[in-house]
């Protein structure tokens, strides 16, 4: 069995698995985060439609994790083709930071975004403060993306 695996370059399969997991986790996290913010946001817009733009901006913030997952998956896909086993496993491991941190940070960012929409509901002028608070969570997703990219670069 081991001999078969080593001889048949199953590295590609592992790398694809890594790309899939990375995108799946990060994008579903973003979907959840955006949805949470969107639900609160539509309530606010229902009350006062002039607040659509700030609400939309805040709602869009947790969507970046999905984009990061997409970028990492794409970079891994670019590496495919005759990978050996250790490279494949490395790529799979490299996919994890962007994927897992993306999943978790997107959900938490969605929570902060939803709360920040509450700020907008009360005082439109303080939208920026809400954005800054929401972006604090984003930093960790960015680190996740970076770590993944740097690791992919070494494979």
């Amino acid at each position: 069995m081991l001999k078969y695996v080593l001889e048949n370059n199953l590295g590609d399969v592992l790398a694809i698995l890594g790309a899939a997991v990375c995108f799946l986790l990060a994008a579903s996290g973003s979907a959840k985060g955006v949805a949470m913010a969107g639900q609160v946001g539509s309530g606010v817009v229902a009350e006062d439609s002039s607040k659509f733009v700030p609400v939309m901006i805040l709602e869009a913030l947790p969507s970046t994790q999905g984009i990061y997952g997409f970028v990492v998956a794409f970079m891994i896909i670019g590496k495919l083709g005759g990978l050996n086993l250790s490279d494949g496993m490395s790529l799979m491991a490299a996919a994890l930071p962007a994927g897992i941190v993306g999943l978790i940070s997107a959900i938490f960012q969605g929570k902060v975004a939803a709360a920040s929409i509450g700020i907008v509901a009360k005082r439109s002028n303080d939208m920026v403060k809400g954005i800054v608070l929401t972006l604090m969570v984003e930093l960790f997703a960015i680190f996740g993306l970076l770590v993944s990219i740097l690791m992919i670069g070494k494979v």
Binding site: I57, F70, I131, I142, G153
Partner: protein
């Protein structure tokens, strides 16, 4: 880079001139009138405040006008500009409006009345339509619908479930010998509409039977034969429709007056401004006192004019050293463009440097690095230039567009350096994806190198922040602080960066082999300098030492801040990679007619989406880097905005 110098102006004038003088000051629009507290010994000499009933009178007029304006906006068919600007009008026209204010109030009352009558007509039509609907099943009934009996016979209208056939009940009635007859008038999907005639002598039993087969009685409040009622309703509805059309025509005619109404609204807004400013002015029996701030450059002219026009005493003085004065920023193109972003954080206070011009440079640079596509930048530059040249804009819109213009230019430059024109569009259409058109290097191929440059830019940004802090200290004449709060940190951070330089990817070995030993040797001295200087405001030797030790923590937050700039790489890569994917998808159709058309479609939609999401990201992340990493180092903020008494209007701008 400038916060405008202010002078305090105090005006004492004759009470009879008060209104004229306030009107004059309002036209000038330069004096930010301050509230003067009344000292207790002068309480019986001076008073403040204004007539609240007059204020509420003006406000009710304004709400009438704004209601009328919003009604007319629906009927106003003139073309609206893309960007809302206040209309410029002559002072003469404005005075005309002011004279006719009552007429315009009456006009807006008329407008509201016609709008209300339209609403009434609509609800009447609604009611008639509902009536008609409920009468339609009885259209074939040839008697008065309200007739409930004759001499001997009871008449009931009602419904029987549709599935019970007429034969069933006629048979039953015959068999049981009831003095009762049922006539079916019409039926729909669920019910049959029937008239029941019952002889009064024996009404209970047939009624009981009818209940058992599901008959339920309906009563109507109409007079007359259903057929005619329906006809009448139709005629009435038609009449009401005509009335509505007429009222609408009327409103359409009024719509040409919308400009006058808007001007009148602003006339009342100005009037209100003149009234409520009395809250800040001391008024006595014969005189009044105004206290306020005026920009230094306009002070002399205003004083001269005041002296010419009124009998009054005006004094000017410089602000005291610890006195806060309102903040007015005066900036060139760059500084003005970004001032909206800064103001969302806070207005600088009157004693610190205006950070806008420097912020503008970094904002645009970081925006460019995050959007990082020359094609997108080109689109932004063209769109913003067209808007700036072609449209009249209000101040806040104009400065935003300008900000986007400089950000677009930065995006173009960075994109060209990275070799990204709509992603890899150029290599894609030349079918040579390995082609490198980057003027500097392509971050997708070498992200580590860009990471290094992002961090270096971050360090520069933060160092500039410390530099402004030093500048602020010099401005406040705290020279010792200016030196000790800045230089030790530069020294400390620089040695720390040298020490870790070998860990940062892409730093050439030749460089870090030189830097690391220098850093390691100097770091203890730098740490000592921090230890000795940063606790100096604390009390006692131990306090000072602890204060110094505690400041080491700033190294951690400095590292965190620098790492935060890695988003410049991450966001830039995200744009580039997605753009590449879009081009790949588009070009998969090959060089056929269908392939080219689908490429065009995918290109427009895909790049449009990529641009929108990444421009938004670049905007908010670039703002964040200013707010958290940059402003934190020096910005005190908390300035009050300069808000002079001026003709504050919503729709019009008065021209002399």
């Amino acid at each position: 880079m400038a916060i405008v110098d202010m002078q305090k102006i105090s005006i004492t004038g004759l009470f009879k001139d008060k209104k004229a003088m306030l009107t004059f000051l309002m036209k000038q629009g330069v004096v930010d009138i301050q509230d003067i507290p009344i000292e207790s010994e002068y309480e019986d000499v001076f008073s403040k405040g204004f007539d609240k009933s007059m204020e509420s009178g003006i406000e009710s007029d304004m709400s009438l006008l704004s209601k009328a304006i919003s009604i007319l906006e629906e009927y106003d068919k003139t073309k609206k500009p893309l960007f809302k600007v206040r209309r410029e009008i002559d002072r003469k026209y404005y005075d005309e409006i002011a004279k006719n204010d009552n007429k315009l109030i009456r006009l807006s009352e008329d407008i509201i009345k016609s709008e209300n009558s339209i609403k009434d007509f609509r609800s009447e039509i609604n009611k008639l339509e509902n009536d008609t609907l409920s009468l339609i099943p009885w259209a074939d009934l040839n008697m008065h619908i309200s007739m409930s009996h004759t001499d001997k016979v009871k008449i009931l209208l009602g419904i029987i479930p549709e599935f019970i056939k007429p034969q069933t009940y006629t048979q039953a009635i015959d068999e049981q010998g009831f003095l009762c007859q049922i006539q079916q008038v019409s039926k729909d999907r669920n019910n049959a509409y029937v008239v029941v005639y019952i002889h009064e002598s024996d009404a209970d039993k047939p009624l009981h039977y009818l209940k058992s087969i599901g008959f339920s009685n309906l009563e109507y409040n109409f007079e007359g034969i259903p057929h005619y009622i329906i006809e009448d309703n139709k005629r009435d509805i038609e009449k009401l429709r005509i009335k509505i059309d007429k009222a609408k025509e009327e409103l359409k005619e009024y719509a040409s007056k919308i400009n006058d109404l808007q001007a009148a609204y602003d006339y009342f807004a100005i009037k209100k401004g003149l009234l409520i400013v009395d809250d800040k002015i001391l008024s006595g029996k014969y005189s009044f006192i105004i206290d306020g701030w005026i920009p230094k450059e306009k002070a002399q002219v205003t004083v001269k004019k005041l002296d010419e026009l009124f009998l009054c005493d005006v004094t000017l003085r410089e602000p005291y050293d610890d006195e806060q004065f309102p903040v007015l920023l005066k900036n060139g193109f760059l500084g003005e463009a970004v001032s909206g972003v800064t103001e969302m954080f806070s207005l600088p206070n009157c004693r610190e440097a205006d950070p806008n011009p420097i912020t503008a440079v970094f904002f645009a640079l970081f925006f460019g690095m995050m959007l990082s596509d020359a094609g997108y930048g080109l689109v932004m530059v063209i769109a913003c230039s067209v808007v700036l040249v072609k449209f009249k804009l209000e101040f806040s819109t104009r400065r935003f567009i300008r900000l986007m213009l400089i950000s677009g230019i930065a995006t173009m430059v960075v994109g060209a350096l990275y070799g990204s024109w709509f992603g890899n569009f150029i290599p894609t259409i030349l079918s040579d994806t390995s082609m490198d058109i980057a003027l500097w290097f392509d971050p997708i191929k070498d992200p580590n190198r860009l990471l290094m440059w992002s961090l270096i830019l971050g360090i520069i940004h933060i160092f500039v922040g410390y530099g402004i802090k030093g500048y602020n200290d010099i401005k406040k004449k705290k020279y010792l602080d200016a030196v000790l709060d800045v230089l030790p940190w530069y020294f400390f951070f620089t040695t720390a960066c040298f020490m870790v330089s070998s860990y940062i990817p892409s730093v050439p070995a030749g460089i870090y082999e030189v830097l690391t030993p220098i850093g390691s040797k100097l770091f203890p001295f730098a740490a000592a300098s921090i230890l000795l200087t940063q606790g100096r405001h604390k009390k006692g030797i131990i306090g000072k030492l602890f204060g110094g030790v505690a400041s080491f923590y700033d190294l951690i937050s400095f590292m965190g801040d620098v790492l935060s700039y890695s988003r410049l790489l991450a966001m830039g890569l995200a744009t580039g990679v997605i753009a590449t994917i879009i081009n790949q998808m588009g070009s998969s159709g090959g060089f056929t007619i269908i392939g080219v058309i689908s490429f065009a479609l995918i290109f427009v939609v895909g790049h449009g989406f990529n641009f929108a999401i990444n421009a938004l990201g670049a905007y908010v992340h670039s703002s964040r880097l200013q707010y958290i990493e940059f402003f934190n180092k020096f910005f005190e903020g908390g300035g009050t905005a300069y808000s002079p008494l001026f003709e504050e209007t919503k729709y019009i701008k008065i021209k002399e």
